[in-house]
Subunit: 318 residues, 2 copies
């Protein structure tokens, strides 16, 4: 029944939340009335993104943050975003298992998201799952993602605060940080900071941030000096400092127009995405009713019998 | 005047082609009637994608392929797709400069594409520029791209044949090849094959391909054994073998339904993209006429006064 799952999610029912997230991940239309029903009850959670290259130790760091947050009395939701690779998927899932230390803690809810390979599909599903955790009443939601592609950058944009995790000794690691990731970084964590080269990595980051600052100094940007926190997640060092930086960033956003501005930007992106989906669905349905199947149109375009611009114009005008 | 640039492009005018590509790259609406006018005259060129991680030697390899193709009497267009990074952009542009050896050769046209950061914008612009080069009469179009994100994978899908370039000695290099890139690989080039570990890289690739083959053996897939070609681009070794593999792959596609199938798939993706754009433009215009600006709607959604699903439904239904 429509709305039934939503009611149970709002009451904090773990099984209902898991079921709704599965519907979301599978792209089931039946998820939507439930998402709609929980929507007015969201917007309460603090959303934190943790991103970085594979091997940066993100999962361990997330583990430590969960433990610290529990000590502070906060409930935690975690979305671990896996790139779907038949070759690396296994290893990453293995990593995830460590987080199951918290599996018996009712104050923690952990879920792995699968990349569907569909452009934009991942950030949509992740955004909806964030909302489910938010509606469940989780105080903090951690989104862990591998910071490699555009799709992952989109995921980071769901967060209020994004931590980019780097490690020393990966050679031109800093160079390899993509521009998109830089743009979403609110905090840098230099993990495995007991390794050789940690100071150099910190210096490189400082230099890069100065350079970036010199190039881009928009006047409407919030006055936030991106902190660089050294951590050794394996030994639980720097966890408190990292969380303090995250809390400070969130406080800065919440005490000014920053938080609402981020939420508004996110709402705008989501609205455009939803509009696009629905409009396309309606247009394809209409085309099909006129006997024009997408595959046939594509085949005619490929043979250069018709041109795509004309077809799109005609379909959009009706 | 509409169509004027197109006529000059079709006559092989280099400056007109450069101008049209600039319009495309800037997302100027005035590009569209020109693209529409050249469309029926496209579909002749052989399109080859060259992708791989930074430092794999793609630019040098492309240089060598250009020289070889010119010897074969073929004209060449090159699109070098740069990730927009204020930190790595410089270096990559430096690399590109080497290709300017061919700058005085009228049979070669080289252009760098800038990533706009907009999801999907890069593959759209690149696709349109491929069409311009095609309409100019270039026999072979090489698209060089860094194989890191989803956006770049989309770019590869524009090609008839995609070469994934890997180098030995980057540790877990093979592991790092993303699933998406694997799916687009028609040929592997192991560049810098004079380096230690080259044989191991080849073995790893063979193993990975066997594994992949065992997992995915769809019946509708063309019978193509992905070749692994060793090259030392810096010394022009393996260039001929690489081109022969590319030519063989194209021949295989062209002699069966494969080429039209790829073109049809591409046409379908493009049509969906164009439809989405146009429909959204029409819907936003309509919303604005009703006094509902996107930014205001987003702000109301962020404040949880309205929900995005309802707004999208209402706008799409009209």
């Amino acid at each position: 029944m429509s709305g039934e799952l939503a009611a149970r999610v709002l009451a904090g029912d773990v099984r209902a939340a898991a079921r709704l997230m599965r519907l979301v991940d599978d792209g089931q239309p039946s998820a939507e009335p439930e998402l709609r029903a929980i929507f007015p009850h969201t917007g309460r959670a603090q959303i934190v993104g943790i991103t970085g290259n594979p091997g940066a130790g993100k999962s361990t760091l997330v583990d430590r943050l969960i433990a610290h947050l529990r000590k502070l009395g906060k409930t935690v939701g975690v979305l671990a975003v896996d790139p779907t690779s038949p070759f690396t998927g296994g290893a990453i899932l293995g990593d995830r298992l460590r987080m199951q230390d918290h599996a018996l803690d009712a104050g923690v809810f952990i879920r792995s998201m699968a990349t569907r390979g569909q452009l934009g599909g991942l950030s949509r599903a992740t955004g909806d799952c964030v909302r489910v955790l938010d509606a469940m009443g989780k105080d903090v939601i951690l989104i862990e993602t591998v910071g490699v592609g555009q799709d992952e950058v989109e995921v980071c944009r769901l967060a209020h605060t994004t931590v980019v995790v780097v490690v020393p000794g990966l050679g031109d690691d800093i160079q390899a940080i993509k521009a998109g990731i830089l743009e979403v970084a609110d905090i840098f964590a230099v993990n495995k900071a007991d390794r050789e080269g940690a100071e150099r990595t910190v210096r490189d980051l400082v230099h890069m941030l100065e350079l970036n600052h010199a190039m881009l100094t928009p006047s409407d940007v919030v006055p936030w000096e991106i902190p660089i926190i050294k951590t050794v997640a394996a030994r639980d060092e720097g966890t408190v400092e990292l969380w303090d930086a995250i809390a400070r960033h969130h406080q800065m956003l919440a005490s000014g127009p920053g938080l609402l501005a981020r939420e508004t930007m996110r709402a705008k992106e989501e609205l455009v995405r939803l509009l696009r989906e629905r409009l396309l669905r309606v247009a394809l349905h209409r085309l099909a009713q006129q006997g024009a199947q997408l595959d046939q149109l594509a085949a005619r375009i490929a043979r250069r019998e018709i041109d795509p611009y004309g077809v799109a114009d005609a379909a959009a005008r009706e």
